[in-house]
Amino acid sequence: MNLLVCISKTPDTTSRISFRPNEKEYNTDGVSFIMNPYDEWYALVKALEITEKNGGNVTVINVGPASNDIIIRKALAIGATDAVRVNLENPDAYTTSANIAAHAKNKSYDIIFTGKETIDFNGSEVGAMVAEMLDLPFISYASALEVNGNTSKITRDIEGGVEVCQVEGPYVLSASKGLAEQRIPNMKGIMMAKTKPLTVLDPISENARVTIEKFILPPGKSGVKLINPDDMDELVRLLHEEAKVI
């Protein structure tokens, strides 16, 4: 099977959040970046499990600048066969998707994997966009997947539970927690990753459809009001009269 896994780079959640003086750009100074956990832990590992069982290749793709090679090498160290990077700084979801779709168009991938969302912007957009651009089914938030020849049985998370669906032929999927177990790259993997092919492609460009006007910081909490643990009537009164939530 021929599988494509889309990987993205995000700041570690514990990173300090600040912006450049123009208020339009995230200040990356001193921030450590990681591969988006949904891409690394679930999408990539599930793709590897499938090819380990059925044979085939796992290609990873990232749309981003050369500084993203570090996460690409990590994906290769975890076990991907080869990698593609479309050389573009700060692409929006539409442009990212257009570039992934342009690469995938004539490659006849059996499954295209994305993470359910990036943990910085929580867009959940790229998988659906790639699917629409390629006119393929899209199964979001997959937490289990069984592949049987041309048929896949997929469990997807929905509100309050799960839905199981069956898909024939190629499709796009977004990976949520539970799809696979995280793998840590070993020494051999890290050594091999250095010689695996990483192809850099020129981007196609798209018009901006959305622009960032600015980033603002949320209003802070004014401070916690502590309630005597023996006086829950007081808490109920405050929730009713002051907070007006019950």
């Binding site: 539970g161 199981v164 600015k214 909490k221």
Partner: protein, 318 residues
């Protein structure tokens, strides 16, 4: 120009977020001086009630059939209706199915989109909507510059209010394009409000010591009419079902009231809950980081505090 609102109706019932997006769409239409159209697909009880929330017209497709959701065929139907009515703005809920649709709709409409918006658009100098990013540590203001726009709206962004009267829906049949997917099974906890829609959430963490102790959390939730949630280690150890897990790797919620008992308040947990309107934290450790994000705090043993709170709620409601 018009605003089209896609309204979800699982098992034939309009979701609360469906009324929310109807209100949202109607307000957008009003600020632009145009019409708002509600759209439903598949069998639905009382579809015309959507009109009470503002849309002046409701289109109901395949009203006599149960229709299974599929992002590919639904995208075609929704964009066909949008094109027919020259709707250049599509609004939908940022729900499980909404997330599978937003990106597709944006591509098919060649639109600018924002997924997970949490404010009405500011149209004073463009078309600017807010969205919470970086685990709730910042808000981005996006200006949608494209002519066509698709916005998925976070649950509880506005309170649905009936402001008008029901309309009689225009029903029609539209063939749903055959696709290669089919739903074969669905497992949903019955009778509870799904987390993303819940107005009150009672959540508990490792401080509970074990799954056998959850009765006090369920009692508190029942007294409040709340939905239960949990921290990640609790779901990971199978003390509670995975769909209750909130946080960065779980579900992001924004209820009016979030009550957390025995949860330390790690940043990854806060990422999913710190947009809640009011947060109450019950923890025996006064240094627990969660108190910094809380509005009300109770320092004490949850095994004593939670039942007392339940009793106080019952007394108040009585």
């Amino acid at each position: 120009m018009a605003v089209l609102v896609y309204i979800e109706n699982p098992k034939g019932k309009i979701k609360k977020t469906g009324y929310e997006v109807a209100c949202y769409g109607a307000q957008v239409a009003k600020s632009l001086g145009t019409d708002c159209i509600g759209l439903l697909i598949g069998k639905t009880e009382n579809a015309g009630a959507v009109g009470e929330y503002g849309p002046s017209k409701v289109i109901h497709i395949n009203a006599d059939q149960e229709v299974e959701f599929d992002s590919q065929s639904f995208t075609k139907v929704i964009t066909d209706v949008a094109n027919e009515h020259k709707a250049n703005i599509i609004i939908l809920a940022h729900s499980a199915n909404g997330k599978a649709l937003t990106g597709r709709l944006a591509v098919r409409m060649n639109a600018g989109n924002v997924s997970g918006a949490n404010s009405l658009p500011d149209t004073s100098g463009g078309f600017v909507v807010n969205k919470s990013v970086y685990s709730g540590k910042a808000i981005v203001r996006y200006n949608i510059t494209a002519e066509n726009k698709v916005i998925s709206v976070m649950g509880n962004t506005l309170k649905p209010q009936a402001i008008s009267t029901a309309v009689s829906p225009e029903t029609r049949t539209a063939p749903l394009a055959a696709t290669n997917t089919k739903v074969i099974e669905r497992k949903i906890s019955e009778g509870v409000v799904p987390l993303p829609e819940a107005e009150i959430v009672v959540s508990a963490g490792r401080g509970m010591k074990g799954p056998e102790n959850w009765g006090i959390i369920e009692d508190l939730a029942a007294a409040l009419g709340a939905t239960t949630a949990c921290s990640r280690p609790v779901a990971d150890s199978d003390w509670r079902p995975h769909h209750e897990h909130v946080g960065q790797t779980g579900i992001a919620i924004r209820p009016n009231l979030y009550i957390a008992a025995g949860i330390s308040g790690a940043i990854q947990h806060l990422a999913g809950v710190n947009n809640s309107k009011v947060i109450v934290v019950i923890n025996k450790d006064p240094e627990a980081p969660f108190f910094k994000a809380a509005d009300y705090g109770v320092v004490g043993d949850l095994f004593e505090v939670v039942p007392k709170l339940t009793a106080a709620i019952k007394k108040f409601k009585h």
